[in-house]
């Protein structure tokens, strides 16, 4: 019996060794180890053997089965690896073909990008963002902001009117008034939005965007205004920037100033090659916004609507800047109209 087992084992191992594919090996596995194969049959026959032969015969049969199984397994993994190598060699593509495009991202408009940049600076300085209507009352747009009844900006050649008491706001400054009437001091607020003036030429569009700022408290000074706008200028145009104040006139601030930022494209008006800088036109300074200390007449108007402002020694500052101007300066956009043409070849470049 043991010889028989040994013979089977030799034949099986020879057959397995001769196999050249994984499929053949599976055949051999069924042939030698399957339910109807000889080795299991022999094992079943062991029960009929005399008791003293059962042990050695069973042991030999089990050893033979383990050995054949191990051989089949090891040959299977050898052949499988070889077959995979063969398959991989024939399965090739051109990886230099263009990849599958992901959805092509769109862009925010340059005005949105710029507005957010500015908003973020003032959020960091503790200013909330307020909004107000574009179709505004004459009272809030002009009267409250200390415009003389005959101020030329009120004229129908300068301002769009809806009726005698209603206009398209000419600045975001009425949001100052609305903010103060809504809440007692102290106030720190900026107001971005669309404004409208009857101008249409190379440097003016009848619609543009402003950001108004307002801070009201006791004891706020022109020095505080300067420090605040210096922080703004550094954040937007670079940490090396300086600012300078020039006296100016606005009806609703006193003193009023214009703010220049030192040119970011040159040194003192001269470019690297010693030529006149064309960003600041050789001045070394660029006008970026108007500002000033809130005129007492503005507080007086607000005080009539919100007692928290009446008869108090409040001081505040306000400023207003053009989003288009900042965007054009910072991104070298030569023509205001480009911002409103919505040409994809322009839109793709920003945001």
């Amino acid at each position: 019996m043991i010889d028989q087992i040994e013979q089977l084992r030799n034949s099986a191992e020879a057959a397995v060794t001769a196999c050249s594919t994984v499929a053949d090996l599976e055949e051999q596995r069924v042939k030698w180890l399957g339910r109807k194969a000889e080795l299991p049959n022999l094992l079943r026959g062991i029960r009929e053997l005399p008791a003293d032969q059962r042990g050695p015969a069973g042991q030999a049969a089990n050893q033979a089965r383990t050995s054949i199984e191990a051989l089949i397994d090891s040959r299977t993994s050898e052949l499988a690896a070889a077959e995979m190598l063969l398959n991989l060699a024939t399965d090739s593509v051109d990886p230099t073909l263009p990849g599958d495009p992901q959805p092509v991202p769109g862009r925010l408009h340059l005005l949105t990008q710029t507005r957010r940049e500015i908003e973020d600076v003032f959020l960091g300085l503790g200013y909330a963002i307020a909004e107000g209507p574009e179709v505004e009352s004459v009272a809030f747009n002009f009267d409250a902001l200390n415009h003389h009844p005959t101020h030329p900006a009120r004229s129908r050649t300068d301002t769009f009117y809806v009726d005698s008491e209603t206009l398209l706001r000419t600045h975001t400054s009425p949001v100052q008034i609305r903010s103060m009437i809504d809440q007692p001091p102290p106030i720190r607020v900026i107001a971005p939005g669309r404004v409208y003036r009857r101008d249409d030429d190379a440097t003016h569009t009848p619609q543009f965007h402003q950001i108004e700022g307002l801070a009201v408290d006791e004891g706020l000074s022109l020095a505080d205004l300067k420090g605040t706008l210096l922080a703004f200028a550094k954040a937007i145009f670079g940490s090396d920037r300086e600012i300078r104040l020039r006296p100016h006139f606005f009806p609703f601030t006193e003193p009023s100033v214009e703010i220049d930022v030192s040119c970011f494209a040159c040194e003192g008006g001269k470019s690297g090659a010693g030529e006149r800088c064309n960003v600041c036109r050789g001045a070394g300074w660029i006008e970026i916004l108007g500002a000033g200390m809130v005129d007492p007449n503005v507080f007086a108007y607000v005080g009539d609507h919100q007692p928290a402002y009446a008869d108090r020694d409040l001081q505040g500052f306000a400023f207003g800047l053009g989003v288009e101007r900042i965007a054009m300066l910072k991104h070298s956009v030569p023509d205001l109209r480009l911002l409103y043409t919505n040409d994809l070849r322009f839109l793709r470049q920003f945001g």
């Binding site: 908003e119 769009f160 398209l168 420090g227």
Partner: protein, 805 residues
């Protein structure tokens, strides 16, 4: 305003360079827009010459050959074409190397065979006038020959073009600018040119002036000069300053009025007294339709908001804007009535704009001049009449209206000034600054009592004086301080944060943000095929638009998107994806004039994806692409949303490809393919558009997410295909499935839509993947099948659907 620098320096000369003066002015509040150099070049080559001999040119009738002594010992031969050249004359000679005012460079030359060693100059060639008829004759006292011409004539001038802010009409005269320069630099200021008036107050014979109250004239003054010799020329220095300031030299009388205006800022008008009909001037509002022929030779039709100065024959001047032709001074005028008045600024502005007639006078008056300036101009003009014509004014001055009353002193507290500026303001230095500006200052304890000069109508309050101190003492001295935050941390509001998220998401989904115009055309309603009753036809209308095409405010963002699509498709760009977030403007009946709800709108056109080698012809963007974008947006925001087929599609949409967008079950906007008629007009083959109400979306965004336990139970997936009539929308099928599957139904996903003749006419098969899960147990296939059967039953009940086996 154009300021000749030499005139400015004659009043106040800080001995600084032109650029330094410009900088001082700019940093104290007078912006210098431009600096222009006028006049000749190579000034050292201009000399006084004496014509010693004159002979005819041998080959040219009109040319003469002059021998000119130019003082260097050798006479020059100069060929000259002027008729008025004569022997013995002193003339202006440009020698080789000189550049005359029109830019021509003088060289040795030959004229018709005769050498010419220079040029004898006309007024025009020297930049001193418009006369080129003949050469400029010098007086023998201006010799001798060889004297540098620059000692005799103003050959070069620097002009500062200033932008005067509307609060400072006192700086519309050179004297006012000189005082600014004095205040900012401390350099000496000469006496005011109107000091020591040669005229007198009191009644004036020979002219009656009648001023209607309420016609916007705050002061009207007049003086009379008689015995004027109209042939007397304007002194060259005055002429040169007028030309440099951008005015023409006309006649001595007119030049006096303009020069007085240049110096004082107050416009004047000279009437020929003999041409004032009836010897009476009436200042009154004009009658509608009244016509005035102005000095420029044009006739202007007035209306009842203008003001005229009339004589017995009717209006002779448009007040404050331009004098009339009928009474203007001429080369025969010997008697002059000189008027200086102050008019209501906005009224003059309105008249000037309406007539399209802007003059040196109107641009000054519209700023609102102080009444005191009229008297100053009269006083300075009297000096000029004396200087030029040796003619004193007749006794008396007509002076009607507001006088030069004393103003109350303003109390200035230096401590308050310090607090406002953030820098220590000392009383004594503040007093010095204000005095230099012409204020009368008295110290009263810690306070200053300040009386501003009468022409400074802008100085009425202490804060106005603080501004003067700040700008004159130098804003560069103000330190930079950051105030402590008084309002705590700032952050975006929820609505602002959501708006940014929407912008970012739409851009991330491949759309480009546009900036549209708020203005729209009245034709937009018809262009969008809106019905007569469509509320979007009712827009906020602008009374004075830039043009009819921009005369109302948009009631939908669609017009802006169509404009962007049209622009880009006309440039051959086929694949378009745009969005805009902006307000529309809805007229309101009550309190406020309009409501301005923000909207989100988008447009997709052309290939829905970029073509690739795997997918060379991707489908065109249509409503399904648009719904995909909405899903990308609204799912990002975690908004509960759906689309349902529109029962009454928007008129500008393809009726079979339009849907309503619901948020939390309520209408929040629309989506669909553009009506072909509209896509044609824009020049695109087709496009999907949508518009959503931003507020409704923002409200539906859940504020905060709370943790939900992740289920450990496995899901059971089953597919279900149902056959439904074609008219049934898939959204309806999904909704009913979700509602009828019971608690164990977790989600329903549509993964196939299929129609074929074998299925039958007018039906489609919709395949759903159902996911079942129970929180508390492992679901069996039997549990899931039971739930699935409920769905099938309900779909059958509501839609007549049958399950495919």
């Amino acid at each position: 305003m154009r300021v000749p620098l030499s005139l400015l320096r004659s009043f106040c000369d800080p001995e600084l360079s032109t650029d330094e003066i410009a900088s001082v002015l700019a940093l104290s509040g007078t912006e210098v827009e431009r600096i222009t150099e006028l006049g000749v070049g190579g000034v050292e080559n201009f000399v006084v010459g004496n014509v010693v001999e004159l002979i005819a040119h041998p080959d040219a009738d009109r040319l003469r050959v002059c021998t000119v002594d130019v003082g260097d010992g050798t006479n020059r031969t100069i060929v000259c074409g002027a008729a008025n050249v004569a022997e013995g004359q002193f003339v202006a000679v440009a020698l080789p190397g000189a550049v005359v005012a029109n830019g021509m460079k003088i060289k040795l030359s030959k004229l018709r065979g005769v050498k010419s060693e220079g040029m004898i100059c006309s007024e025009e060639e020297l930049g001193l006038g418009s006369s080129s008829d003949g050469i400029l004759e010098l007086d023998p006292t201006e010799g001798p020959a060889g004297r540098p011409l620059g000692e005799v004539l103003t050959l070069q001038e620097t002009v500062l073009e200033l932008e005067i802010t509307p609060n400072r009409p006192d700086c519309l005269g050179v004297w006012g600018v000189a005082r600014e320069l004095h205040a900012a630099t401390g350099a000496a200021l000469s006496a005011a040119p109107w000091d020591d008036d040669l005229g007198s107050v009191g009644s004036l014979d020979g002219l009656v002036v009648d001023l209607d109250a309420g016609c916007g004239c705050s002061r009207f003054t007049a003086r009379i000069y008689e015995g004027i010799d109209p042939t007397v020329p304007t002194p060259r220095a005055i002429k040169a300053h007028l030309i440099a300031a951008g005015m023409r030299s006309v006649s001595a009388v007119v030049d006096i009025t303009n020069y007085a205006m240049l110096v004082t800022g107050e416009p004047m008008h000279a009437f020929d007294l003999d041409r004032i009909a009836g010897g009476t001037l009436k200042v009154r509002g004009s009658n509608p339709g009244e016509v005035v022929e102005a000095l420029d030779g044009t006739s202007y039709e007035l209306n009842d908001s203008d003001v005229v100065i009339a004589d017995a024959d009717g209006p002779t001047s448009i007040a404050g804007v331009m004098g009339g032709a009928r009474s203007e001074v001429s080369d025969a005028t010997t008697r002059v009535a000189l008027e200086a008045a102050v008019w209501n600024g906005p009224g003059i502005h309105a008249t000037s704009v309406r007539l399209g007639l802007r003059s040196e006078a109107s641009t000054r008056f519209e700023k609102g001049l102080a009444p005191v300036m009229a008297g100053r101009a009269q006083a300075f003009a009297s000096k000029l009449f004396e200087l030029i014509f040796a003619c004193a004014p007749n006794p008396g001055t007509i002076d009607i209206g507001q006088g030069e009353g004393d103003s109350e002193p303003i109390q200035l507290d230096p401590a308050k000034a310090s607090s406002l500026l953030g820098i220590e303001v000392e009383a004594s230095s503040a007093a010095t600054t204000l005095s230099r500006l012409g204020c009368v200052v008295e110290q009263a304890g810690p306070l200053l009592h300040v009386v501003p000069p009468p022409e400074r109508l802008d100085l009425g309050r202490a804060v106005d004086l603080v501004e003067e101190i700040a700008r004159i003492d130098g804003l560069d001295r103000i330190p930079s301080t950051l105030p402590p935050s008084a309002t705590g941390a700032a952050s975006l509001s929820d609505a602002q944060r959501i708006r940014r998220r929407i912008e970012d998401t739409l851009a991330g989904l491949g759309l480009f943000e546009i900036a549209g115009w708020s203005f729209d055309s009245p034709r937009i309603a018809d262009r969008l095929l809106l019905t007569e009753s469509d509320p979007r036809r009712s827009a906020v209308i602008i009374e004075n638009p830039m043009s009819a095409e921009e005369s109302l405010l948009r009631t939908t963002l669609l017009g802006s998107l169509l404009d962007a699509a049209a622009h880009n498709s006309s440039h051959g760009i086929k694949r378009l994806g745009f969005f805009e977030i902006g307000s529309v403007y809805i007229p309101a009946s009550s309190q406020s004039a309009a409501t301005e709800p923000p909207r989100i709108a988008g447009l997709l056109s052309g290939p829905s994806r970029l073509p690739t080698w795997r997918d060379s012809e991707p489908p065109s963007a249509d409503v399904h692409s648009g719904v995909g974008v909405l899903a990308g947006l609204l799912d990002t925001l975690r908004v509960d949303w759906s689309v349902i087929a529109s029962e009454s599609p928007e008129p500008f949409l393809h009726p079979g490809r339009a849907a309503e967008v619901l948020v939390n079950g309520l209408t929040a906007g629309w989506i669909g393919d553009l009506h072909p008629q509209i896509s044609d007009s824009v020049g695109v083959e087709s496009a999907c558009v949508f518009e959503l109400d931003l507020a409704k979306i923002a409200e539906a965004v859940p504020a905060i997410q709370h943790y939900q336990a992740v289920s450990g139970q496995p899901a059971v997936l089953q597919d279900l295909a149902v056959i439904v009539p074609r008219a049934v929308s898939s959204g309806e099928v999904v909704r009913i499935a979700l509602e009828s599957g019971g608690e164990v139904l977790e989600s329903v996903e549509l993964f196939d839509v299929y129609a074929s003749p074998e299925l039958g006419e007018d039906v489609v098969s919709i395949a759903l993947r159902l996911t079942f899960r129970a929180e508390d147990r492992t679901l069996t296939e039997e549990d899931a099948s039971a739930a699935r059967a409920l769905i099938v039953n309900q779909l059958n009940l509501e839609l007549g659907a049958t399950a495919r086996v």
